[in-house]
Symmetry: C2
Subunit: 336 residues, 2 copies
C-alpha cells in the first residue's frame, strides 16, 4: 500500500508533529507518457517552513490535506515515457510518498550516477551546492586574505560555502549550535575557525575569531547573528543573504537593529534565491563535481530512515539538530 505525508494543519510558531499526518493513498498507475517512481531520499530544507504558512513567500504554500513536497531522489519503477527507463535515477519536486506518479515525466531530472552518489543530486551536486557557490563566488567575492563568516555553517549550504571560500583564499569562520558541529567544521570541512554560538557571547566570539573584521558574511540565519555581523563588518563588506532561519518560526519580527551600519560601512546586502540561478547548474557541476570526486570538497549527509519519520526529521532540522544535509531515506537505493 502506498503512503504519504500530508499537511494536517498549519503551524503557529514552531512546527510540531501534529502539523503532519501519515496516510494511505492510491498506488500510482502510469498512463501514456507517464512515469512512476519509487522515492529514495526526501530532501529537508529550511525553506519548507515558509511553505507551511499561508502567506506569500517565494515558494507556493502547501495546502492543508495535501502532501508535503520537496526535492526527492527516486528510481523509475514504471515508465511509459521515452525519456525515462525503469531503473533510472531521477530527482524532482515530488510528494513525500513511497511512490509517485509523474504525469508526462514533467519536471523530472535524470541523475548522472557517474558524477557521484545519487543523493548528491539534491545536495552538493544540486541546488544547495549551487546556492553556496552563487553566494560565495558571485555575491561574496572574497579575495585571498579576506575573512568570510558563515552562520549555520554545518548546514548543507554552509559547509560548502566555507569550503568554496577557502578555495578562493579566504580565511573562513563558521558558527554552529553545538560543540559537535564546531568539531565537524574544523576537522572535516577545514574551516580556519568555528565556534558554538549557544555557548558564548557572539561579539566576544567574533572579536576573537575575526580579529581583522568580517569582509563577507554569508547569512543563513538573520536575527541576532546578522546584527552581530553588522557590528563586526569591515568597510565594503558583502552580505549574501541566503536564509533567515532564526525568524522562520517566530510569530513576531523583532526587527534588525544597527542597520545603519550598511551606510556607515558601505555594506552591500543581497538576498538571493537559487531558482534565479538554476541555469548555471551545468557549469557548476563541470567545475565542482571533480573536486567532490577527488575528495577536495567533502560533504556530510545526515540520513534519517523511514518515510513516517520525515516530519520529525524536518522538525529536528529546523531546530538545528542535524549536521550537514538532512535526508529521509524512504527505500534502498537499488531495487531488491
Amino acid at each position: 500500500m502506498n503512503t504519504r505525508i500530508v499537511l494536517a494543519r498549519r503551524p503557529v510558531g514552531w512546527v510540531e508533529e501534529s502539523c503532519f499526518a501519515v496516510e494511505s493513498c492510491t498506488e500510482p498507475q502510469a498512463g501514456p507518457g507517464d512515469v512512476v517512481v519509487q522515492s529514495i531520499y526526501l530532501s529537508t530544507d529550511p525553506y519548507l517552513r515558509g511553505r507551511m504558512n499561508d502567506g506569500p513567500s517565494y515558494a507556493a504554500s502547501f495546502q492543508v490535506g495535501h502532501p508535503i513536497v520537496s526535492r526527492v531522489v527516486a528510481r523509475v519503477i514504471d515508465s511509459r515515457h521515452e525519456g525515462f527507463a525503469v531503473g533510472d535515477y531521477v530527482w524532482g519536486f515530488l510528494d513525500w510518498a513511497q511512490r509517485s506518479l509523474v504525469r508526462r515525466g514533467q519536471g523530472l531530472q535524470r541523475i548522472d550516477a557517474s558524477l557521484g552518489r545519487v543523493s548528491h543530486a539534491v545536495s552538493v551536486l544540486g541546488m544547495p551546492g549551487l546556492t553556496a557557490w552563487i553566494g560565495v563566488a558571485e555575491l561574496g567575492r572574497p579575495v585571498p586574505g579576506e575573512t568570510v563568516y558563515i552562520s549555520s555553517a554545518e548546514g548543507a549550504v554552509g559547509q560548502l560555502a566555507g569550503q568554496f571560500a577557502r578555495r578562493m583564499g579566504a580565511r573562513v569562520v563558521g558558527s554552529a549550535g553545538s560543540d559537535d558541529k564546531v568539531a565537524f567544521l574544523r576537522e572535516r570541512c577545514g574551516f580556519d575557525a568555528a565556534f558554538n554560538y549557544k555557548a558564548r557571547d557572539l561579539d566576544d566570539a567574533l572579536r576573537e575569531h575575526c580579529p581583522d573584521g568580517i569582509d563577507v558574511y554569508f547569512d543563513n540565519v538573520g536575527g541576532a547573528t546578522l546584527e552581530a555581523a553588522l557590528r563586526h563588518a569591515n568597510v565594503a563588506a558583502r552580505f549574501p543573504v541566503c536564509g533567515m532561519i532564526s525568524g522562520y518560526n517566530a510569530l513576531e519580527d523583532p526587527g534588525i537593529r544597527g542597520l545603519h551600519a550598511l551606510l556607515v560601512k558601505r555594506i552591500q546586502m543581497t538576498g538571493f534565491i537559487i531558482y534565479d540561478h538554476v541555469h548555471k547548474l551545468p557549469a557548476y557541476l563541470a567545475r565542482v563535481a571533480p573536486w567532490v570526486r577527488r575528495g577536495e570538497v567533502v560533504f556530510h549527509e545526515d540520513i534519517v530512515q523511514g518515510l513516517e519519520r520525515a516530519p520529525a526529521a524536518l522538525i529536528g532540522m529546523l531546530r538545528g539538530e542535524a549536521i550537514g544535509k538532512r535526508l529521509v531515506q524512504v527505500a534502498p537505493e537499488s531495487a531488491a
Copy 2:
C-alpha cells in the same frame, strides 16, 4: 571682529540650540603659503548630526568647544599661496566662522564660476549632486518604465535623484513631509507623483502611487519608510541607502522589521558614502553642468541669512523644515 559657531555640548536625542555657542575668535593672519577666506555659504547636511555624537561614524566627531565644520563656499580675501588669488571663489571643509585661515591652502578647491552659481559647488555641482547620481545611475540603475521611489525627496539629494531617474526613463515617486514640499516635487522637479507621508498611511500611499511596485528605493530616511518600501518592493529591486535620517536623533534603534523581504524578493541594498566616489566628480560635472545651465535640471536652495542663525538653520533642516538644499549665507557673494 571674527566670530564662529562651536559645539557647546553633545546632543542627547534631538539637537537643541543650547548645543551650540556663538563666540568671538581671532582674526586670521596668512603666513607663508596660507590663504584667508571670507565664508559666504555654509552647507547644512544631515550627516553633520552624526558628527555631533561621540561614537565612531564615517566622519570624525566634532569636539566640544571646537568649531562646527562643514562644506563652506568662500571668497579669498588674502593669499600667500600661488594657487589662490584674492577674489577667487573656493570651497572646502571649513569652520563655521566669518573668516578662516587655510594653512597652505590645504583641501581648498577652486570653484569654476562659469559652471553656474557659486553656491552650486556644494549642491548640484558638488557632493549632493554626485550622491544623487551615484545612487541612481550606479546603484539603482532604473530602466525605462521602472518605478523609483525616493524618500525625503525635497532634500538636496532627493530632488536631484528624482530628476536623474526621470532622465533615465523611470516613473518617479517622492515622499516629503508637507504639502508645500509635495507641490514643489510635482510642479518644480517634475516628479510623476508625490505624497505627504505625514498626512496619510504609507502603505496606502505606496499602493496608490506605485501601483506596479517599487523597483528602486532611494533611501534617505530608513525607519518606517524603509520598512514600507520593503513591503512594496518588486522582485530584484535595488535599494541604494544614502541616509537614515529618521534614526539620527533616536536614542534607541527600534530595528527594521520585514528584512526577510530581502531574501524573498532578492533585493539588493547597498549603503554608500560619497567620499568613496569623489574621483568621479569631473565626469559628473561634464555631464550634468550643461543640464543645469540649460534649465533641464532644476535645483532649489533654501537660504538662511546670518552666521548666528546657522544652529537654528541646521536644527530646522534636521526637523525637515527646508525645501531643497539649506545654506546659511554669512556674507554677500561679491566684495562690497
